[in-house]
């Protein structure tokens, strides 16, 4: 960890990160990089390893193999490291018998930086009673309290596990806007998991795609989209194409074939009609949800 590396060092960097539980491998050889200032979408179906990855980054779980660096160091039990990270677990962990105000008080005593005013203001604008036990609040209200508390820590990296799942569409939009503002103000990087691509598309500029415990894609969304193309053409052998490019998904009908490929140079064969790919299309292509499984060819693409 030298000084000159510090300036350009990515906020999150893992190499071959794996996590095995007794019988299952939750995360296999994950290599990802998230530069500073990004809002990164961690996308994947249920059970893909999203929560495991986030917990490894937060230091709540220990890796079984590989390297992980968060904010320039291995996740560790150290107040300075913990102060830089905001983590919100999917189950929205709050002490049910304590009030929001109690949680604000606890945060104030347990963190070097703490923006109590921002939490109170947020709760006020959402009409959430601060003195009521959080166990008596609705699920959405609890999620809002937990999010406000996570932001109040003023972390450099926010790890959010399905943060919008419990929110109604309006609250969801408000929350994502708040997040975008916080990142725009500088010094904050966000990694948030979801399986709702549409929500993330609006604010995220970076993507990590997980499926079957493996990282399928990792990179800036614009770059990733530019690297992929949809090809439509007559039914023919794709071997020649696959020699140069990586076939992600092929959907065959009686007359034609639609391919999602990861480009390695331009497609020169005039038989193919090319089209740009959208985020949702890309994600579904990789997750193989766009076609019946039998027609799906899922390729693993690791980040190099």
């Amino acid at each position: 960890m030298t000084a000159d590396q510090g300036a350009t060092r990515p906020v999150i960097q893992t190499r071959g990160l794996s996590k095995r539980y007794r019988k299952v491998t939750a995360l296999r050889e994950a290599t990802i990089t998230v530069p500073e200032g990004r809002i990164s979408a961690l996308i994947g179906p249920n059970g893909a390893g999203k929560t495991t990855l986030l917990r490894l980054l937060a230091g709540l779980a220990w890796p079984s193999g590989g390297d992980v660096a968060v904010l320039g160091s291995t996740p560790r039990q150290d107040p300075a490291f913990l102060a830089g990270i905001g983590f919100l677990a999917q189950e929205i962990p709050l002490y049910r018998r304590l009030s929001a105000e109690d949680h604000i008080g606890a945060g104030a005593r347990l963190n070097p930086r703490w923006d109590a005013a921002s939490v109170r203001q947020r709760l006020k604008s959402l009409d959430i009673p601060p003195d009521q036990a959080v166990g008596t609040l609705s699920g959405g209200q609890r999620a809002q309290v937990a999010l406000a508390l996570t932001l109040a820590k003023r972390p450099r990296l926010l790890l959010l596990d399905e943060p919008v799942a419990a929110l109604d569409p309006l609250a969801r939009r408000h929350f994502l806007a708040t997040l975008a503002d916080a990142v725009a103000a500088g010094g904050l990087t966000v990694l948030l998991s979801s399986h709702l691509v549409a929500d993330l598309e609006r604010i995220c500029d970076h993507l990590i795609l997980l499926a079957a415990s493996r990282v399928q894609l990792c990179g800036d969304i614009d770059t990733v989209l530019a690297e992929h193309q949809v090809l439509v053409g007559p039914r023919k052998d794709t071997t020649a194409l696959e020699r140069t490019h990586t076939l992600v998904q092929a959907v065959r009908t009686a007359r034609q074939i639609t391919l999602l490929i990861r480009l390695n140079g331009p497609v020169t064969d005039p038989a193919w009609e090319t089209a740009d790919v959208g985020l949702e299309e890309l994600v579904l292509g990789y997750l193989g949800q766009g076609a019946p499984p039998a027609l799906t060819h899922l390729t693993t693409v690791g980040e190099d």
Binding site: R55, L60, L82, G86, A89, E91, L94, L110
Partner: protein, 322 residues
């Protein structure tokens, strides 16, 4: 951390304080009554020179109260189950640990402060109950000298503090390893009861080697004060011991055939006959002077076990996934 610990546990603390206050009032009132009852009985028997029979003629207080006081045997276990068991387990089970452990506080400090306060609270609470019981029992102890016996030893003096500390540490460790509150409570209850029983029955008698006295069957010897009787019986002419006493061993009377006919002449005559055949009586016991040494050793054993369990808790919480 202290602030959060207090916020989380203040209701438990209030309930515990209220229960202790109620118990204290009950014991103070009845304890003062018993003390004055004992004093006046002692004054009366001194005047009439009948103090030798006082233990058999005087009954202090009410049996219900003695049962209630004996029930304080369960206090350390309850502290372990209700304070120790959920301490880490509930945080793991409900996920709230992910709130506490993602503030700028290491899990080590979280555990140190939180478990420190709860362990201290339990020890003080257990100690307060024990202090009340010890004071309340003093007339009874002076009258019957039974406070070294199993059951009374365990609720007086300093050992209850050791038990309370151990029980809470056990609850914490069980909760941390099992990660579930309810199983942790069951394990705490079972292990605590089993270990206490094993130690009181098989280990405690051997903290120091017991003293044996051999005496004439006609004039049985009684050690002074609150000694703890371990075994008693008869020693035959060849030196062999009969722990069942003189009358039977496996339903075969060990009394010499010649003496059996003396039954009709009363116990005294029979005992003289037995003595003349070379039989003597024996006692093995721990003398009253060792009471505090035993209290200290037993407390030490449980403090040591508690320390080991705290180390297990820390190891699991700091080195494993949470």
């Amino acid at each position: 951390m202290t602030w959060l610990t207090w916020r989380q546990h203040r209701h438990q603390a209030y309930i515990a304080a209220a229960a202790l206050a109620a118990f204290a009032v009950l014991l103070l009132v009845t304890g003062l009554q018993m003390a004055s009852q004992y004093r006046s009985a002692l004054a009366a028997c001194t005047a009439s020179h009948t103090c030798g029979t006082l233990p058999s003629t005087l009954t202090l207080g009410s049996p219900v109260l003695f049962i209630l006081v004996t029930l304080t045997l369960a206090v350390p276990c309850l502290l372990g189950v209700f304070w120790g068991g959920p301490l880490v387990a509930s945080e793991l089970e409900t996920g709230t640990g992910q709130f506490a452990w993602m503030q700028s506080v290491t899990r080590k400090r979280w555990l140190t402060v939180k478990s420190g306060w709860v362990l201290l609270g339990a020890t003080v609470w257990g100690g307060a109950v024990s202090a009340l019981v010890t004071w309340w029992s003093s007339p009874e102890n002076a009258l019957r000298h039974q406070n070294f016996d199993v059951g009374k030893f365990d609720i007086q003096g300093i050992v209850p503090m050791g038990y309370a500390l151990f029980a809470v540490a056990l609850g914490m460790a069980a909760g941390t390893v099992l990660r579930r509150t309810l199983p942790a409570l069951a394990v705490t209850l079972g292990v605590f009861a089993a270990l206490r029983l094993v130690i009181a029955t098989w280990l405690r008698p051997h903290y120091m080697s017991a003293i044996t006295t051999v005496f004439s069957v006609v004039r049985p010897a009684t050690p002074a004060g609150s000694y703890w009787l371990l075994t008693s019986g008869a020693v035959g002419p060849g030196g062999q011991r009969y722990s069942s006493g003189l009358l039977t061993i496996n339903n075969v009377p060990i009394i010499p055939r010649a003496c059996r006919t003396t039954f009709s002449q009363g116990v005294r005559g029979m005992l003289s006959c037995v003595r003349d055949h070379g039989f003597r009586g024996y006692l093995t016991y721990q003398p009253a002077s060792r009471y505090w040494a035993f209290q200290g050793i037993e407390t030490g054993v449980f403090v040591f076990l508690a320390a080991a369990l705290i180390a297990v808790t820390a190891f699991v919480l700091l080195r494993r996934d949470v």
